[in-house]
């Protein structure tokens, strides 16, 4: 049996409301809120980045895994906001959790599915017997260009998963990956903000790719939507995951525990991974969970998870995702947000 042995989340404290952003750009807040099904998003303070979020999420995963970090054989951080262009975020994460030096490390990127990619690869390393445990993190402190639609949703968060074959919490029963060259959202080297194709990011990109992965994995697993207790989709806004769920034949109750975007924003590489940690927090032994990530460019990684008895023992060994999301929130105004996110140019 191979699967998740420990999972952990980290979300920053600060938030900004849609109204606050809309006010500055003269946009109609209610229609953004309706259209995106979004209330607010998380905002990282200047001392928080992909590395710091990954470390804290990884520590929570270690708390639930109850393993010696030295037994982790690989650390992969998937993000589109790695602090360095050259020097993997994973090196700092590995050093901080203490699994150096006998450890493999690489950073992953694939827009919002960089985290699920890390999950995909770590499962394979552990399943093949290469190593005892491997850590996969999806983390981002993503940026949206000022005044752009993405500014309302681009937020920060991290989810970490330790994969192994012993003391599994959620078995990885099946995996499937679907990928094409679909340029719906991208960022050129040295650019600060990404670009996107507007409505092109919808049907030909997000919906087509997730559906492709869904059809593929359900066929491989010989399962139907009704066989799952929960489903987690990549959630760039509140609306898309509900719509794709409906399209594919899932019910809203299956999606709800992992549906965080309305209060969290889009944590990019953390998006479906955090949906998964949040779902695991409420899941029971025997529950089947389907997770389908999406990364622009474009691809989807799909996973069928079966929750084991061990979930009851470890669920409370670290903080729950919704607690991090809904409690102890600090709201900021646009000026503070712009300062925190380095959107203000200062003369050198």
């Amino acid at each position: 049996m191979v699967g998740i042995v420990g999972y952990g989340a980290m979300i920053p404290r600060h938030r900004i409301k849609v109204e606050e952003i809309a006010k500055v750009w003269g946009a109609d807040a209610p229609s953004y809120k309706r259209g995106l099904m979004l209330e607010q998003k998380s905002v990282p303070t200047p001392d928080i980045d992909t590395i710091t979020l990954s470390v804290e999420a990884a520590k929570n995963a270690i708390r639930r895994a109850e393993i010696d970090p030295k037994d982790i054989g690989a650390v992969y951080v998937g993000s589109e906001s790695h602090p360095y262009a050259v020097k993997p975020s994973g090196t700092t994460v590995a050093e901080a959790i203490g699994c150096v030096p006998d450890c493999h490390c690489a950073d992953f990127e694939f827009a919002c599915k960089a985290g699920s990619e890390a999950m995909f690869v770590t499962l394979a390393l552990v399943k093949s017997g290469y190593m005892k445990y491997a850590l996969a993190v999806g983390a981002d402190t993503s940026q949206g260009a000022p005044g752009d639609a993405l500014e309302y949703s681009a937020s920060a968060g991290a989810a970490a998963f330790i994969m192994g074959t012993k003391n599994v919490i959620a078995e990885a029963v099946h995996t499937f990956s679907f990928m094409t060259d679909t340029p719906d959202f991208w960022r050129r080297e040295h650019e600060f903000y990404p670009q996107h194709g507007g409505r092109f990011t919808g049907e030909p990109a997000y919906f087509r790719t997730i559906s492709g992965a869904a059809v593929g994995i359900l066929k491989k697993a010989n399962m139907k939507p009704g066989d799952f207790k929960y489903v987690v989709f990549h959630q760039p806004n509140g609306k898309f995951p509900l719509r794709v769920g409906k399209m594919l034949g899932f019910k809203k109750e299956q999606i709800t525990p992992g549906w965080l975007t309305p209060r969290l924003g889009n944590t990019y590489s953390g998006s479906s991974p955090l949906g998964l940690t949040s779902t695991l927090d409420v899941s029971k032994p025997g529950d089947m969970i389907l997770m389908i990530s999406y990364g622009s460019g474009a691809g989807s990684d799909a996973f069928v998870w079966r929750v084991t008895d061990r979930i009851n023992d470890v669920r409370d060994k670290a903080v729950h995702t919704v607690k991090l999301l809904d409690e102890n929130q600090f709201y900021v105004d646009y000026g503070t947000y712009a300062k925190y996110r380095h959107k203000i140019l200062k003369n050198k």
Partner: protein, 131 residues
């Protein structure tokens, strides 16, 4: 900030590695070569806990240049249950709500950024313990 200086302190800054004198038990963070109390040169490594109690603090309003965009920020001294103390910034807390005696957690944060092309320095900051 030259990379060697940052790299050398990582066991202490990233993993809170401290040392205990094997002869008289006195603890040190960062570790040292000789025990001040008994003169012994032998130590045993251990890791500091991730929770502490705040002993004092202040709010820096005129910082050194690397921190100029962060002002005002709170910084304080917290004590671990084994008696050792550490200095760190206090994050995620309104300044008026910081109280001597409050429980804090250590959370991994970026401490310094060396301009637009230097190495990043990481360590811990104190955050109020709310879970």
């Amino acid at each position: 900030m030259f990379p060697a200086r940052i790299w050398r302190e990582m066991p202490q800054r990233y993993r809170l590695e401290a040392a205990k004198c094997t002869k008289c038990g006195t603890r040190y963070y960062p570790p040292r070569l000789v025990c001040k109390e008994c003169g012994s040169r032998k130590f045993e490594n251990y890791t500091l806990p991730e929770e502490a109690i705040l002993q004092t603090f202040t709010v820096i309003r005129t910082p050194a240049s690397q921190f100029s965009d962060q002002a005002p920020y709170a910084i304080g001294i917290a004590k671990f249950d084994d008696g050792l103390q550490m200095m760190a910034q206090i994050a995620d807390c309104e300044v008026e709500k910081i109280k001597i005696g409050m429980k804090v957690r250590l959370e991994f944060r970026k401490i310094q950024v060396d301009g637009s092309h230097g190495v990043l320095s990481y360590s811990y900051k104190f955050v109020p313990k709310w879970y």
